[in-house]
């Protein structure tokens, strides 16, 4: 009898259920990032100069950090601040379009549903860098409206390019959240004479709004960390400026660790609190609906 309980039975139904591999987790990034202890930032700060020391040669590590020190205000307030700005604009556009696209995926009209599904899949499954280049090349450098010429700077194109994959992922979050509400809620509303639109806006969406926030924040963190891709479009952000600064300091290889390490520290310091907050919110919402 005992042996049966310990899994030696030949009856498959008696075997304990074991999950193999990882389940897909819609908060994969923030759950990992948020699970790091806060002192990992200090570890990073200590390891980063140590790693730089390890590869030091003629041009000393001290010189490299001195160079970084001079560039820090520029890298932070001209560079990183711009990454934050790009991420905020891209998130704003991506969320607005994504919410609309997600609702279109729930339409009763087959054509609307099909088209919005196709758009979602296309942008969700394309490489971000490819999307960025497509937007860069497809959009003109300037547009003329009623004789007024408006230039479209590179960073605007970067915002548009980054907002596309965000849009597609928000679309899936909205669709998934609405579908997670039991169909009995729709029926109860229907039996009380609510129209489909009223049911969606007044009964279904308010219930799943909270559920959408943690995965939405997960995508914000991913987006923020993807903003250095814009350096490939020549947009002035932290990586572009770090490269330019290193060039100005005569391109010593010893500069690489301090400069890119600094960018890493900034991204970590920015995304870590977001991750912690997301995990805290998720925990709170999962207790009470």
């Amino acid at each position: 009898m005992d042996s049966r309980l310990h899994g030696t039975t030949d009856l498959p139904v008696m075997k304990p259920y074991v999950l193999r591999g990882h389940q897909y987790d819609e908060l994969f990034l923030v759950r990992w990032l948020g699970s790091l202890p806060p002192w990992s930032l200090l570890v990073l700060l200590a390891l980063w100069p140590a790693a730089a020391f390890a590869q030091s040669a003629m041009f000393g590590t001290v010189d490299a950090f001195a160079a970084l020190w001079r560039w820090i205000p520029f890298l932070t307030f001209q560079g990183f601040l711009f990454n934050v700005l790009i991420s905020l604009f891209a998130m704003l556009i991506g969320t607005t379009l994504g919410a609309a696209l997600g609702l279109a995926q729930l339409s009763r009209n087959k054509v609307t549903r099909g088209i919005s599904w196709a758009i979602t899949q296309l942008f969700r499954n394309s490489p971000w860098l490819v999307l960025l280049f497509v937007v860069l090349l497809a959009f003109p450098f300037q547009i003329t409206v009623f004789g007024v010429t408006i230039p479209i700077p590179g960073w605007v194109k970067a915002v548009i390019g980054l907002s596309l994959p965000v849009m597609a992922n928000i679309s899936e979050i909205v669709r998934g959240a609405v579908n997670s509400v039991p169909s009995a809620q729709w029926e109860a509303a229907e039996s009380l004479s609510f129209t489909r639109t009223q049911t969606l806006w007044q009964i279904i969406l308010p219930q799943c709004f909270k559920r959408m926030i943690p995965p939405w924040m997960n995508w914000y963190a991913i987006l923020t960390m993807a903003t250095p891709l814009c350096s490939l479009l020549g947009v002035g952000e932290i990586i572009t400026f770090s490269r330019q600064a290193m060039e100005a300091e005569n391109n010593h290889p010893e500069l690489l660790m301090p400069f890119y390490g600094y960018a890493l520290v900034l991204f970590f310091a920015y995304c870590y609190p977001i991750a912690r907050l997301t995990i805290a919110l998720e925990r709170r919402y999962s207790v009470k609906l």
Partner: protein, 248 residues
């Protein structure tokens, strides 16, 4: 044809309903007069729930006719919203809106659907909550209420639309035995006030006490029906007898 109260308020004639190839209702006919309470009983899977869900057009039918106050429910041009204002429904799983308090649950449909004045709606909602004996629970969320309390809020929510007919779909089936009674008392009060009620239930004692007429369904047809006294004591069909002997 206009409807007058001397005609059946709900009338089903030869109703057929299939889900795919599976025929759930195979020609069901019944009439309910205004103010009557009828109970539909029968083994599970016999089509009882489907039957009452067809009455407020949550399910459509393939053949036959259903009328509510003379209006054909299976008419494709039917104004379903108008029909559902007349026919209230309470579900087995309560289905309250979890993000709204008890009072808000009751007020929501009259406010948003009927667009009535908020003050009158609130007064009516409070008196309905009192009626289902839940005074003091107005500001509680469904998650904070017991199953029986939630079900009574669901009844009040349905009544807030001032329906002419109430449908109850196994409303006590998901409840603890202790709380079944409080819900049944609420329904009994309603019946005593003259509300037309159509119930699907497994509570035989309750059916015997409140129903004016009992219908026994099995495999998609009505096998036998009659007033409770003759139905329970003088059942003729062997299927009815077998069912009653198992349950009583």
């Amino acid at each position: 044809m206009s409807w007058t109260p001397d005609l059946p308020i709900v009338s089903l004639k030869d109703v057929h309903k299939s889900f795919g190839d599976f025929e759930v209702l195979k020609g069901v006919s019944l009439d309910v007069m205004k103010g009557e309470v009828i109970c539909i009983i029968g083994p599970s899977g016999s089509g009882k729930s489907t039957l009452i869900r067809c009455i407020n057009a949550l399910n459509d039918i393939q053949r036959g006719s259903i009328t509510v106050e003379g209006q054909e429910v299976s008419d494709p041009k039917l104004d379903k919203l108008a029909l559902r204002k007349k026919v209230g429904m309470v579900f087995q799983q309560y289905n309250l809106f979890p993000h709204k308090t008890a009072l808000e649950n009751v007020m929501m449909a009259p406010l948003k659907v009927l667009k009535e004045d908020p003050r009158t709606v609130e007064d009516r909602a409070r008196s309905l909550i009192k009626k289902v004996r839940l005074e003091g629970k107005e500001d509680n969320y469904p998650g904070e209420l017991s199953g029986g309390q939630q079900q009574r809020v669901a009844i009040a929510r349905s009544l807030a639309m001032r329906p002419d007919v109430m449908l109850f779909d196994e409303v006590t089936a998901a409840l603890d035995p202790e709380t079944v009674k409080e819900v049944l008392v609420t329904i009994k009060d309603l019946a005593a006030e003259g509300m037309t009620c159509i119930l699907v239930t497994h509570e035989m004692g309750f059916a015997r006490e409140v129903a004016d007429h009992i219908y026994f369904t099995d495999r998609g047809v009505i096998v036998e029906h009659g007033p409770p006294a003759s139905f329970f004591d003088e059942a003729k069909d062997p299927r009815t007898k077998e069912f009653l002997s198992q349950i009583l």
